[in-house]
């Protein structure tokens, strides 16, 4: 399913941006050029060909030559621009997923074990706020508190450990909340089942009951939400990168949007969608390891 989906994503993106008003030649060459230069540029890039021909050429080059076209503004191959920015975004998204998983799952488990306790109420309230805060506002507040007032962490870049703290917190904020919520409800469902009662009845220690009997069986919805969160985080990295001036794919795309540099936008969205699909595929495969009843077909 992966390959046709990605091909369709390419078609959709190409179509949307093809029909967007604005002449690529004007964008690339600026406003003050002769008509001859525009005509030459258009024929050199094949911009006068019919839509289907251009689409076909784009897909052919992307699939067989890993060539995503040229940036109008930077005059360099899109694949080059992207590949120089991908490591940064990958690092950011990966750290954020790791962090939100490591915090979100334990929080959810604690809430499920101590249902209706004060801790549960507090965490439920905080997660409610967490899913309701816009990423960019979380980022601004974190900068305000930890960078402006306390001066603990840097608010620019993503190189050193000190610089990594705030972007990761910003990006993972809502994911922590969502993962904690799903973990809690999934664990609650499992804890109420008969085999957990049996495990307790035979005198098993509570920690073993929770981590050996309950958690693996509660894992499927948690895995699903983590893989979905990966997509949200990849999308959210645009905002985080903009706030913290991180030169990743997201910031590249934002700059491209303001300059109407369509090949870069196409390439960036395509890359992120591909990454997202691969992660979902990985999650599908992981299901089979977590739950042996599921067979990978």
């Amino acid at each position: 399913m992966l390959i046709p989906v990605i091909l369709c994503v390419m078609i959709v993106l190409f179509t949307i941006l093809y029909f967007t008003p604005g002449d690529p030649a004007r964008i690339a060459l600026g406003q003050e050029v002769t008509d001859e230069a525009i005509t030459a540029f258009r024929s050199a890039r094949g911009l006068d060909d019919p839509f289907v021909v251009q689409l076909g050429r784009y897909i052919y080059r992307a699939v067989f030559k890993a060539d995503l076209g040229y940036s109008y503004v930077m005059k360099s191959p899109v694949s080059y621009e992207l590949s120089s920015r991908i490591p940064m975004t990958a690092k950011l998204a990966f750290c954020a997923v790791l962090f939100s998983t490591l915090v979100g799952i334990p929080l959810g488990i604690i809430c499920a074990i101590r249902q209706y306790s004060i801790l549960d109420s507090v965490v439920t309230l905080v997660t409610l706020l967490g899913v309701s805060m816009p990423t960019f506002w979380t980022g601004l507040l974190l900068i305000l508190a930890f960078s402006v007032h306390l001066g603990w962490f840097s608010s620019m870049g993503f190189g050193t450990l000190n610089e990594m703290v705030l972007p990761i917190l910003t990006l993972s904020g809502s994911s922590i909340a969502i993962i904690a919520r799903i973990t809690r409800s999934s664990m609650l469902e499992v804890i109420k089942s008969d085999y957990i009662r049996t495990a307790r009845a035979k005198g098993q220690r509570e920690s073993v009951v929770i981590f050996r009997h309950a958690l693996p069986n509660a894992m499927i919805p948690i895995l699903t939400i983590i893989s979905i969160q990966f997509g949200t985080l990849l999308g959210g990295s645009i905002i985080t990168e903009a706030i913290f001036s991180i030169s990743g794919v997201g910031r590249l795309m934002l700059e491209a949007i303001s300059m109407r540099d369509y090949p870069i936008i196409q390439g960036g969205v395509l890359f992120i969608s591909l990454a997202f699909c691969l992660i979902n595929l990985a999650a599908d495969i992981l299901y089979a390891f977590v739950d042996p009843r599921i067979h990978v077909k």
């Binding site: 990605i6 309701s132 816009p134 900068i143 990849l234 999308g235 645009i238 905002i239 992120i272 699909c277």
Partner: protein, 287 residues
């Protein structure tokens, strides 16, 4: 004959009773009702116009005259927040209506007819789901250009698959039941069966999804405006106000706090309503 029918409590009455016990949901309803009032009567409530500039009052902290302070053009932040509620609510409700109608229709048709139709429609939805939603919203709104209507369309399109999938699932769950067969036996058309028999039975999950989607749509609208793609200045949009406040984060932090607070309160209220509705409409399912 009609008068002999014993009137029992309807599903909605029970839902309302359960909903009233959920304090968070009630609080959410109150907040949203107030917000709608504020948006409708913005001209009367707002102490100043949204673009009234006072050059003697540039970036002044909250005071008696300007409760939430003034921005970099000497405009009253409170008034701008009040006018901004119009944008957020409009985008939230209209964008979700767009996705509800289109997504609901796609899901209903796919689920009802099944087979090839179903396969094609749902694969299209899969393609859309492969692109992270906020990215798709960014691409569509950058293609459409700025403006309120375009913002609604961009946010609306991105939420279509949620409703399509939900509608399809609930159509599938009632499609095989006897009352559908009875309707068909009586000669009802496909359109009539879908609209009059299947839709009313799938309404509960759709309402919950719609409430949560309104919250999400408002977040999206704010995010797009923050990135400079949604509503253009001078009209106040909460996300846009935050974007404008960024350079003054160090000196005038209140400019970055109040618009965010407005967004958060709205979203929290909508999420509370959504969660409350879900519990009230489906009491079997424990949270």
């Amino acid at each position: 004959m009609a008068s002999n029918i014993i009137k029992g409590n309807s599903m909605w009455k029970y839902t309302l009773i359960r909903l009233r016990r959920n304090y968070l949901a009630v609080a959410g309803f109150v907040v949203i009702a107030l917000l709608i009032l504020v948006a409708v009567f913005a001209e009367r409530i707002a102490p100043y116009g949204y673009s009234d500039q006072d050059y003697m009052m540039i970036r002044k902290s909250p005071s008696a005259a300007h409760w939430l302070g003034t921005d970099e053009f000497g405009r009253d932040v409170l008034s701008r927040l009040i006018y901004g509620s119009r944008i957020s609510l409009q985008v939230g409700f209209i964008a979700v209506s767009i996705s509800l109608v289109i997504g609901g229709a796609i899901g209903a048709v796919a689920g009802y007819f099944g087979g090839k139709t179903d396969n094609i429609l749902m694969r299209i939805m899969d393609v859309q789901l492969a692109i992270p939603t906020i990215l798709l919203a960014i691409v569509i709104s950058s293609a459409l250009g700025p403006g309120l209507f375009n913002l609604m369309v961009a946010v609306g399109i991105t939420h279509i698959p949620n409703f399509a999938r939900l509608m399809r699932a609930s159509v599938l769950s009632v499609k095989g039941m006897e009352f559908i067969e009875a309707a068909r036996a009586m000669g009802a058309t496909h359109k009539r069966i879908i609209l009059m028999y299947i839709m009313p039975n799938s309404i509960a999950p759709v309402i919950v999804q719609a409430t949560l989607s309104v919250a999400n749509a408002i977040l999206f609208a704010a995010t797009l405006s923050f990135l400079g793609l949604g509503i253009q200045p001078p009209y106040p949009e909460w996300g846009g106000m935050l974007s404008a406040a960024r350079p003054y984060l160090r000196g005038n932090s209140y400019l970055s706090i109040f618009p965010g607070l407005a967004i958060m309160i709205t979203i929290v209220a909508l999420n509370c309503i959504g969660d409350g509705l879900r519990d009230a409409l489906d009491p079997k399912q424990k949270r």
